[in-house]
Symmetry: C2
Subunit: 450 residues, 2 copies
């Protein structure tokens, strides 16, 4: 027997648009019917019901770029120049992180993500055997694409990790978990290794993908303005074109690539993104905080590039709140382009749902409320002072809704949060473990630096 | 007998800085002691206590620019060009607003403001006898400066309103309510009227200010790039300098002026702001949403201008959330100036507290937790997944805290919200009235346009 969500306003992000007094029927992990409240009530009289009167029912948000484990460094070092931030603060701590700490950090971020309406996450970190981000996402009941990040200086280790990650996790739990190959960036992965990773990706897809969806690429691209210089410094290669064009010259770009940031682009770079079908994950909060710049999102959208939204890590954001990211994305380009009609609410809502699904090659199963899709659904309480009065649900969802208005979260047909209570893991325990882990990290750093 | 807040981390924004295991003692509406938890416990054994263990205790946030009543238009029209937005959407509705509707709109915003940690608001709207914004702020228990907005085309009406507003409200309830004179903008108030308003302000100050604090000026300034052209169009005056310089040439600028926006400034304009001691209310969310541009806040701060933070109206924001405004203020200038060290968390926190108090000429009584100041205090629950782990309270307050983390709010010594429950007005009733009022407004517009 299934679940019927009755009486809410459905913001489907699909063909049915916005449906007042609507209802959704879930059986197993699948949406089997969507319609008018009264009709559905008659058709499915014996199903368990969730009353969504006065609430908005929509597809779960999709966070297209994360490093979940890094929540352990939230607020550890802010307001530093990027190079100092990474070299003096972040990397020394990360060097000391164990698999268990990565697991706890990812669990913490997963809890925050679910509590703010995110049901699917695309996360890049270091895969370790046993405890890792994949296990955290699995345990908490989220949907996710979990990657292992690759660097030129550890090819052998990376290849082993990618193979193990794929065989252990790709397609787990009815396909709720997928994996990705994550070349860190063009300035940390040399051309030869880029090509090798492309070949390895095909091999892994041949082996694991067919029944479980594709193993995609997740990479950083054009985050800062000095990437060509960094490539020169690292690999002694003269890049006299945009970094997208450089990467394309290696023959590695394709429609299965999701590129985070894309802040510093030439006209030609944007054309290549479109031609190759590369998907972009836009992270406005992180890009502003790290002073990377402002991505030319309106130009990419105009060119027809699929642009999704991400928070980036809780260390460069410092939260995992996709509602906040939606609002900042809607605001920033209006201000920069001096045009208040740019990125209207509806457009931004698509970026956080169906376009996020497209970016992960998962839009056949998630990103909208439609019959046949997986039941990844959030219910938002609209009876709040800051959501009154109500003229347009779409406007409120982007400009006024807060993470804390998310009341109930269903992922893969399972109620993972109900009335703001996480049902799958012990939140108190995770918070305690996170505090302990952060103290251990500081101690280890301190010992090393003596 | 008073209240003791025990065991929390005090972020005083005053001389004591951040004090862990701290305590604050309130008697009447005044802070009478601040110190270490254990000492205070011994000194005041019989006071009512609030346990703030695991929480942050800080001065209430100060919203330096609002039009509270406009919550009734939240999400009514977004993503339109400014001129169309005002002329086709906002003004036609506002024309039909009654005093009662203004009261309800302001009450709604006040509830949202308190629930997101704001204790003092500086709001500009149309004063009407009986029901108005001042009554809303009075009834809900907030602290506020309530202005009446003045236009060239209704001088007589404005003068009457200003006199009545001052005599009725300035200094009410132990000085919790203050009033201001609000010339709308340099392009809607002609030079003669500006000077007349300056003279009237002195007259009102002579009469009502001495024991109640000053009656200040609250105005819009340099919000969009075309104000010189608008002044030419309206008053046939050639403004060949910055608009601040133009206003200064009328002799009306002084340290009692709080100017909202200040987005389009010349170097000389910034110098004049500093020379005259004009205070600036920076509204980054509204400026971005309306595509007005990005205010040169770092330049103003460097010049020594006092810059406070505001949300602007719930119609151009679309919320009254000062935590969100703090984060956007901290982010946007880093991105635009390409410098991650600009506007660090501590600087931004000052803008929302003690500098907000300075901007309202109220820093002798509010803006920090210090002995002798009014007890405007908020208590924030830090035991949340998105606030773990904890390295720095200051960083978390700006980059990670959510409006919904505010648990208890004390204004003028009175507990106005406790465990997120508003104690002063019936919230359900306000929400219902707000929905009804918005429906009436739409009907009236519809009738007129037929």
């Amino acid at each position: 027997m299934g679940i019927v969500i009755l009486g809410g306003t459905l913001v489907t992000m699909g063909e049915k648009g916005v449906l007042r007094d609507g209802a959704v029927v879930i059986e197993g992990n699948t949406i089997i019917d969507v319609g008018r409240d009264d009709e559905i009530k008659r058709k499915y009289p014996r199903y368990e019901t969730i009353n969504a009167k006065g609430k908005v029912v929509m597809p779960g948000l999709i966070n297209a770029h994360q490093h979940m484990a890094m929540s352990l460094l939230r607020g550890y070092a802010d307001d530093y120049p990027l190079k100092e931030w990474l070299e003096k603060w972040v990397w020394p701590v990360e060097k000391h992180m164990t698999g268990y700490e990565i697991y706890i950090g990812a669990l913490l971020t997963a809890i925050e993500s679910i509590m703010s309406g995110t049901t699917t996450v695309n996360t890049m970190y270091h895969y370790m055997r046993g405890y890792n981000e994949a296990k955290a996402i699995y345990d908490v009941g989220m949907r996710g694409v979990i990657g292992h990040v690759c660097f030129s200086w550890r090819k052998e280790e990376d290849n082993k990790a990618l193979k193990e990650l794929s065989s252990e996790w790709h397609g787990r739990d009815n396909g709720r978990i997928r994996v990705s190959v994550d070349p860190h960036a063009p300035y940390t992965v040399d051309p030869e290794y880029m090509k090798e990773l492309r070949a390895l990706t095909e091999e892994l897809n041949d082996k694991y993908a067919p029944e479980n969806g594709p193993i995609i690429w997740h990479t950083h691209l054009a985050e800062t303005g000095d990437e060509a210089q960094k490539i020169k410094d690292m690999f002694n290669i003269d890049v006299n074109v945009g970094v997208v064009e450089y990467l394309d010259s290696l023959g590695v770009l394709g429609s299965d690539v999701i590129a985070a940031h894309c802040v510093h682009l030439t006209r030609r770079d944007i054309e290549i993104l479109r031609l190759r079908g590369v998907k972009v994950a836009h992270n406005p909060v992180s890009n502003l905080k790290l002073a990377s710049g402002i991505s030319p999102v309106p130009d990419m959208l105009e060119a027809g590039v699929v642009v999704a939204l991400g928070t980036d890590s809780p260390c460069s954001n410092n939260s995992a709140d996709m509602f906040e990211v939606m609002k900042v994305a809607a605001l920033i380009h209006k201000g920069v382009y001096k045009d208040p009609t740019i990125l209207p609410a509806e457009r931004v809502l698509k970026m956080a749902t169906i376009d996020g699904a497209r970016a992960l090659h998962w839009d056949n199963q998630i990103g909208s409320i439609e019959v046949g899709k997986k039941a990844d659904i959030i219910i938002i309480d609209f009876q709040k002072p800051h959501l009154k009065p109500l003229y347009s649900e779409t406007s409120h969802l982007v400009y006024a809704t807060k993470a804390s208005d998310v009341e109930t979260v269903i992922i893969d047909g399972r109620i993972v949060m109900e009335n703001r209570e996480i049902k799958t893991v012990n939140v108190e325990w995770v918070l305690e473990e996170a505090e302990k882990a952060s103290k251990r990290l500081l101690e280890r750093i301190h010992e090393t630096s003596i």
